[in-house]
């Protein structure tokens, strides 16, 4: 579940050298730093022990997905070959997405998003479907994360240090509400994120390519009901994870005070 190679929390809490000292077993110079690193470890490792620490399963049900028309796909002629495993069948030329699989994938994706948000990762919502651009921006704003619903400049991720100065922090997770851009081609950010080792979560419709996306969610990305549902789910997961983080910090802070006194 951990974003590869990013110890954001460690950087925020303690300067690196002290953390290393604690991990190698050597006594840190002040007990303050030792305590912080102990809290740190517990904070980060505790959620990883549970398969569904944030209980994202309860946020959605098969019925809700069905009513939001998540199972409706495009016509048979628009089908992408790699979406065939996720398609339940084809009814009068219209593809139907298998909601049982969608449930599983959605749970995995939401769980991952929650863990990233818990560890204070930066999340970037991407959507190039003009009908829902405003909705996605509002969703991102409400959960305190970021959104990019405009034209994607080529070097945004791959050339960030040149374009925006060195020391820029790239997003830790990209969430695609629609993986296609305006000309029905895969969004450039999918490939760029893969190049920069940034995990991606994306809603893939029957005409999308799910190959490089880390956590694809097979589902409808064209109906307003479905997109509203996804936005609501992501917003709830991220807020829940952040609140949980605050709770855990308080909990471990109190525990350590009790231990030390």
């Amino acid at each position: 579940f951990a974003p590869p190679g990013r110890l954001n929390d460690a950087l925020l809490f303690t300067p690196q050298p002290n953390l290393c000292a604690a991990q190698t077993g050597g006594r840190a110079q002040t007990s303050f730093f030792v305590l912080l690193s102990v809290i740190n470890d517990k904070l980060i490792t505790e959620p990883l022990r549970h398969p569904d620490f944030f209980n994202v399963k309860e946020l959605f049900s098969l019925k809700e997905l069905f009513d939001a028309r998540v199972h409706l796909g495009h016509k048979k002629g628009c089908r992408h070959r790699f979406m065939e495993p996720y398609i339940f069948g084809c009814r009068l030329d219209q593809d139907i997405i298998n909601l049982d699989q969608t449930m599983k994938h959605l749970q995995l994706a939401l769980n991952f998003t929650a863990h990233v948000a818990y560890r204070k990762g930066i999340i970037l919502f991407i959507n190039r479907n003009r009908q829902f651009g405003h909705l996605v921006e509002v969703t991102a704003k409400d959960c305190g994360e970021y959104a990019h619903t405009r034209y994607w400049q080529g070097g945004l991720l791959t050339n960030a240090h040149v374009q925006y100065g060195s020391g820029i922090r790239l997003p830790d997770l990209l969430i695609f509400i629609s993986t296609l851009n305006n000309v029905f081609e895969p969004h450039v950010a999918i490939r760029d994120a893969a190049k920069m080792n940034i995990p991606t979560v994306g809603v893939v419709d029957t005409n999308c390519n799910p190959s490089i996306i880390t956590y694809p969610i097979p589902g409808n990305d064209d109906s307003p009901l479905a997109v509203e549902l996804y936005c609501k789910l992501f917003k709830t997961t991220i807020t829940r994870a952040k609140n949980k983080r605050k709770q855990m910090e308080v909990l471990y802070g109190l525990q350590n005070k009790a231990d030390s006194s």
Binding site: L62, K63, E64, F66, D67, A68, R69, H71, L72, G73, H74, K75, G77, C78, R79, H80, F88, R91, L92, Q94, I96, N98, L99, D100, F184, N207, N220, D222, S223, P224, L225, E228, L229
Partner: protein
Amino acid sequence: MVARESSARARPGAGKVRGHAPPSDRRNMATPSWGRAASRSRAWQLLGAARRGSSHGTADSPVTGVSPPEPEKRPSSLTGALDAGPQQVPSKNVESFASMLRHSPLVQMGPAKDKIVLGQIFHVVEDDLYIDFGGKFHCVCNRPEVDGEKYQKGSRVRLRLVDLELTSRFLGAKTDTTLLEADAVLLGLLESREIRQKE
């Protein structure tokens, strides 16, 4: 339970919660009559997806109380079907996806060509009306000359579907090009409510 239904509906002012798909519909499916005379009483309501018989028993009693302003003239077998619903599957309230799909109005409707459905206008741009009828895409219709001002955001209308999604394969292309729109002919406003009020 009523709150659950309203949140599941998610479209403001969408059709009232429908109960179990009435048996009369299944009979109609067996003998499809696509004549316009019969169409008035059989307009498909794809918006506000129907509750199936296996869903919660306690939810059905508020539904029967709310069901009177039904846009189509559904026979009273609707309430009969609702009462029969909870008795069939009292404890199991998890319906499989395949079952939900099979009983969904979209599938029960069959081919979309020449089917009468109810829609709701969700966006207006001068003379263009964007109408959502419960399918994957919306349709865009021109404002008719008759009663033009009555077509505002939130109005319920009757449509005759032509296609659920406008796609076509052009020469030299690998996949179809899609317009992300459905195609329908606007028949008029929903009038049965006024008729019902007169009665």
